[in-house]
């Protein structure tokens, strides 16, 4: 496609250059002023050639290739992952397991993964450029797309349909892992949340369950059953916070809890106005959720 474009462009510009060089002279080189020649040119380059090229392009891309890029029948894929778009983060659910996580999608390499993309609020678009095309996440539709990685590694994905103020910070990381690592990760994720060990962490858990936190967040095996915000069951195992916005370290986590709006203006999580002590305890608790 690129080559053809370059040829067409070069040809057209070339003709313009010729026109400039012969600006003093009527008619064409060799052909002179016969009107039929430029008219033939219009017919050939204006209708004939494009028609052939376009029909070819149509056959190849819109009939043949479309079949390749359309999502395959789920029965032919090894596994399915449901991805639900939220303003401004991603929820991942692994059917057949209790696993609910956010913003970091783990999948095995060399495996055809069937992504089912839906939305909890506005229209988002699921796009991991390195792994496949994009698919919109439209309320009320269950769109599907195939994800396939032949190299282990981290692949960046980002929402590509304008979804509000923090559209720019709605990113995710896809971890394509060797099957063994993936199984280990999944096994860990399937466990309920760790019970806190230190006193600070226990205090943090209490605050979490009593404050507003529990009404929006989900932590498996605890009273926290909210799904407004990301699930935190194994928060400590994630590498970033706020949909790939900041690194997942205690200092950053504290800053985030202190005032999320300062880090990510427009994010749904409110400024809870907690004291340093309470924040410290919450961080201690959340940071223990491996």
């Amino acid at each position: 496609m690129l080559a053809a474009s370059v040829v067409v462009f070069a040809g057209a510009v070339g003709l313009l250059v010729v026109a400039y060089l012969r600006r003093g002279v009527r008619g064409l080189p060799f052909f002179g002023e016969r009107e039929s020649v430029p008219e033939g040119m219009v017919l050939v380059f204006g209708i004939g050639v494009p028609l052939v090229a376009l029909v070819a392009l149509f056959g190849v891309s819109d009939v043949y290739l479309v079949k390749q890029t359309s999502p395959p029948n789920p029965s032919t894929t090894a596994m399915t992952i449901n991805v639900i778009g939220h303003q401004y983060w991603w929820e991942m659910r692994y059917p057949g397991t209790p696993v609910i996580t956010a913003n970091e999608l783990h999948m095995p390499v060399d495996t055809r993964v069937n992504i089912v993309a839906t939305s909890a609020d506005v229209i988002h678009s699921f796009w991991v450029p390195a792994l496949n095309r994009k698919i919109d996440m439209v309320p009320g539709r269950r769109n599907r797309v195939l994800l396939y990685a032949n190299q282990p590694g981290e692949y960046r994905g980002q929402c590509s349909q304008f979804c509000g103020m923090q559209h720019a910070h709605m990113a995710m990381i896809v971890f394509a892992q060797r099957p063994a690592q993936y199984r280990a990760w999944l096994a860990n994720e399937e466990r309920s949340a760790m019970t806190p060990t230190t006193a600070a962490a226990r205090a943090g858990e209490r605050d979490f369950m009593n404050d507003q936190c529990a009404s929006c967040h989900y932590i498996a095996g605890t009273p926290a059953q909210g799904f407004i915000g990301p699930a935190l069951t194994h928060l400590a195992d994630r590498t970033t916070l706020g949909a790939n916005e900041i690194p997942n370290r205690p200092a950053w986590l504290a800053a985030w809890i202190r005032n999320p709006q300062a880090i990510k203006p427009g994010v749904r999580m409110p400024d809870l106005g907690l004291g340093d002590n309470a924040i410290g305890q919450l961080v201690a608790y959340l940071d223990g959720l491996h």
Partner: protein, 633 residues
């Protein structure tokens, strides 16, 4: 109009001067129904909006000049990029082309003395101005629309956008649509009925074909947008459920309705550019367009096929591939009319003896950029490729090459081309050429890197981006290009402003133009032509015997129509003389009615529905008065 006026001819001219004298001063401009004055009003209004949209563009580029920029807050950025889109499309390109160029030139080119409905013409300007101010009041209040010019629901629904930002959008676009609908009805009737006797369809200048196509496209595209906005406001204000999936609505309904309008819109934006190009190229190439009928056809056909391609804006929403094929087929074939035009232009320049003065340079730049934009357009008609680059900066690059490179360049070229006709003075050629190269290079530097950054995965409409993704340098280059471009545009305006006062006198036809407007004085008199011109070809200025015939007829006082504001009406296909129309002179009703309509929308916005109904009733009464004091013919 006669080239050399004899004493006998002079007395007829003086009679016309008496009949067509215009009111002086501000009142004259407020109550004018003269298509040239209205065109000039359109020009300055849309130029002002162009400035606003340009500033918004510079803000965007400044924000994105480096990673994690914080010139604008996220909220402000959303409003700015939304208003940039709305402004450039609804408040600049359309009013500048149809409003300014069309209004001023169309009646001149077809040898008429005014538009078919002069007062309606004035009304559509004042309504357009009202809608533009309506939208900008929103920005000044800090409540500008903020979910993109495409305004997808549910993001634009009350639940996720509770302020009145979106209401400004919904009402504003319906409001603006009223103005456009009135304009295009006026255009079509003018082209159908007011062509000078003898100007049958096959003798109509290509400029007029382009504007006829635009008018029809707008006429059939706008209702879809108005309905979409009506549904949106019903949902937001009265709790209807058109777009609410929970109650059986469908957010994709908005996308369908919006793009049924939105894609024809793209061609509505580009077609006037074709028209301007097809009038500049022959003039500077000193020959007729190659294959006239095919070029005329291409202009019409683009507008028609444009209605069959809208879903290619929705290739990623998950419709069935079968549905997509219908649109892919049309989306590919629609490139052929454009190809026909491009090669007709090139062949004309090639076989003619082109002179590359400033307007011509802009047209050459237009051809180059239109090819780039067209080629990237073909690539996104390939569904799998589009599904990769959709909503990335690749698309931004594509449509800016089409809309800025291909639609605005001819507008700029046209400004230079017709400047002498409108002002009677020449622009500065040297500064003109410099301004061209600045804009040309600026455009390329601004928009070409966007292809790459898009393929690298940068999505559109992000108020910022993280470092380390390979996007930063390219964005920096783009921003520099944008500033360069701005300088070029300012230079154009400066050139025209200075030339307006210092320029050398232009004479009737400094551009060796081929259409009728060049036969009258610069600037043209209020009645355009002392005699209704003789037309026997689409290039009247290249038929000297016809122009001599005009002189002779002026001497005999034949076809002068001096009693009252008169212009002949002809049959639709073959332009045989049918009747003599008396045109209404100046009228105060249009601005008044526009004011009332503005009242209606303002009250709707403030939820004073009964007051809005009251304003509506007043509009009705104004219309009655309008028709009671209508001219009688």
């Amino acid at each position: 109009m006669a080239i050399n006026v004899t004493p006998q001819g002079q007395q007829h001219v003086e009679r016309l001067e008496r009949v067509w004298t215009e009111r002086p001063g501000l009142v004259g401009w407020l109550t004018t129904t003269n298509h040239k004055r209205i065109g000039i009003l359109y020009f300055f209004a849309s130029l002002a909006f162009f400035g606003a949209g340009g500033v918004e563009a510079l803000l965007i580029r400044t924000q994105l000049i480096g990673p994690n920029g914080h010139v604008l807050s996220p909220a402000a950025y959303d409003e700015v990029f939304t208003m940039h889109g709305i402004t450039m499309i609804f408040l600049f390109v359309i009013p500048m082309t149809t409003g300014a160029f069309g209004n001023y030139l169309l009646p001149l080119m077809i040898g008429a003395r005014d538009m078919a409905f002069p007062r309606l013409n004035a009304l559509s300007f004042w309504v357009f101005l009202g809608s533009g101010l309506f939208l900008y009041v929103a920005l000044l209040q800090g409540h500008a629309p903020n979910s993109g010019w495409f305004d997808y629901v549910p993001l634009a629904s009350k639940e996720f956008d509770p302020g009145n930002n979106i209401d400004f959008y919904g009402y504003g676009l319906i409001f603006n649509g009223i103005a456009s609908t009135m304009t295009v009805i006026n255009f079509i009737v003018t082209i159908f009925k007011l062509r000078a006797p003898g100007m049958s369809l096959n003798r109509m200048p290509l400029f007029c074909f382009a504007f006829l196509a635009v008018a029809f496209a707008l006429l059939f595209a706008l209702p879809s947008l108005s309905i979409a906005c009506l549904f949106l406001e019903l949902d937001r204000q009265l709790g209807f459920h058109f777009y609410d999936v929970a109650q059986g609505g469908d957010p994709l309904l908005w996308q369908n309705l919006f793009w049924i309008f939105g894609h024809p819109e793209v061609y509505i934006i580009i077609l006037p550019a074709f028209g301007i190009a097809t009038s500049i190229i022959p003039a500077f190439s000193h020959r007729r367009m190659v294959f006239f009928p095919l070029v005329a056809l291409a202009e019409i056909l683009v507008a028609f096929l444009g209605f069959g391609v809208w879903v290619h804006h929705m290739f990623t929403v998950g419709f069935s591939s079968l549905t997509y094929v219908y649109f892919a087929a049309a989306s590919l074939i629609i490139t052929i009319p454009s190809a026909i035009q491009i090669f007709a232009w090139i062949a004309t320049i090639l076989t003619g003896t082109p002179v590359f003065r400033t307007p011509m340079l802009f047209i050459v730049g237009f051809i180059v950029y239109f090819i780039i934009g067209g080629l990237s357009g073909i690539t996104v008609a390939a569904i799998p490729f589009d599904q990769q680059v959709h909503d990335s900066y690749y698309i931004v690059a594509h449509f800016h090459f089409v809309i800025f490179g291909a639609a605005v360049f001819p507008i700029l070229g046209g400004m230079y081309f017709w400047f002498p006709k409108v002002t009677g003075r020449m622009y500065d050629e040297r500064v003109g050429k410099i301004s061209f190269w600045l804009t040309f290079i600026g455009t390329f530097v601004t928009f070409f890197p966007m292809h790459i950054v898009g393929i690298l995965g940068m999505p559109r409409r992000n108020y910022t981006y993280p470092p380390g993704l390979g996007w930063s340098l390219l964005n920096f280059i783009e921003s520099i290009g944008a500033y360069l471009l701005a300088v070029g545009l300012v230079l154009i305006v400066a050139n025209l402003v200075v030339s307006r006062f210092r320029g050398a006198p232009a004479g009737r036809n400094p551009m060796e133009g081929d259409t009728l407007e060049w036969s009258t004085t610069s600037p043209p008199p209020p009645y355009n032509y002392a005699v209704i011109p003789t037309v026997t070809s689409p290039y009247p200025m290249w038929e000297p015997q016809d122009r001599e015939a005009d002189d002779a007829r002026l001497d005999r006082g034949e076809g002068v129509l001096p009693e009252g504001h008169q212009t002949p009406a002809t049959t639709v296909q073959d332009a045989q003389l049918d009747e003599i129309l008396a045109m209404p002179p100046h009228s105060a009703w249009p601005p008044l009615l526009a004011l009332m309509i503005t009242g209606v929308f303002a009250m709707l916005l403030m939820h004073h529905y009964w007051i809005a109904v009251g304003f509506g009733a007043v509009c009705g009464m104004t219309l009655l008065a309008w028709h009671r004091h209508g001219v009688e013919a």
